[in-house]
Symmetry: C2
Subunit: 143 residues, 2 copies
């Protein structure tokens, strides 16, 4: 089973490169994707070796679901978006991670899924930091 | 709350058009997407009015998670795929539905997400029917 202790967990280098840290929930590390086109969070369960949701035991699956719901609600409240997109794909980065993306009808890819439509747009640091602070306060997490 | 009785539930017409029925689990209707490029199932919680996972109450969220895991395992066992992609997007079809897609390293879109990469490829009826029967037997459901 994958219920390894958290202290062996390390974030995939590509995920680290493409995101900024937000904080840790009970199971998942929360990240902000470096793409100002969409408010885009990523949840990474701190379980070494997991690449599929079904690699988690059922307690972790339930916790992941609760954290997806919690983060979706927070992101919806902050952004007033039209739709939340939730996806666990992982064809490129094997480490299990769940995208939670706030979509609006006038965003760069609407109504398509975000992947491969337009290039990532860099954040102004102040914009990213403000969004991260809002999410941290709503989730009661610290970096 | 959305815990309406199942008898008011009707499948979105576009989902009905793009899929073949597989059967009903406790919460979700299971569908096979008419795209022979990828073994691609869809779960639709039979809850009228739900468009986001967070529109479901927490008992239904837990049941959805269990059914996502159950169907992912079945699809992985049948197809021996390299990766399962799980996604709740719904930018076009508002009715809450979860894609569960078996991906292989030589499929038509790998490693990209499947949406918008290549046109859907029609199934031979016999191929679709065989896959549906395998899924039905593994899930113990009937149409």
């Amino acid at each position: 089973m994958l219920r390894s202790s958290d202290d062996r967990f390390t974030l995939d280098p590509q995920l680290a490169r493409d995101t900024r840290p937000v904080g840790d929930l009970v199971l998942c590390r929360v990240l902000l994707t470096n793409d100002a086109n969409y408010p885009w969070l990523i949840l990474v369960p701190r379980r070494t070796g997991a690449s599929e949701i079904i690699d988690l035991d059922s307690a972790d699956q339930a916790q992941l679901t609760a954290e997806i719901a919690q983060v979706s609600r927070v992101l919806k409240d902050i952004t007033r978006c039209d739709k939340i997109n939730v996806a666990a794909l992982g064809n490129v980065v094997a480490q299990l991670h769940v995208h939670i993306i706030a979509r609006t009808r006038n965003d760069a890819a609407w109504p398509k899924p975000v992947w491969g439509v337009v290039n990532a747009k860099g954040y102004q640091d102040s914009t990213a930091e403000r969004l991260i602070r809002q999410v941290q306060q709503s989730l009661s997490v610290t970096p």
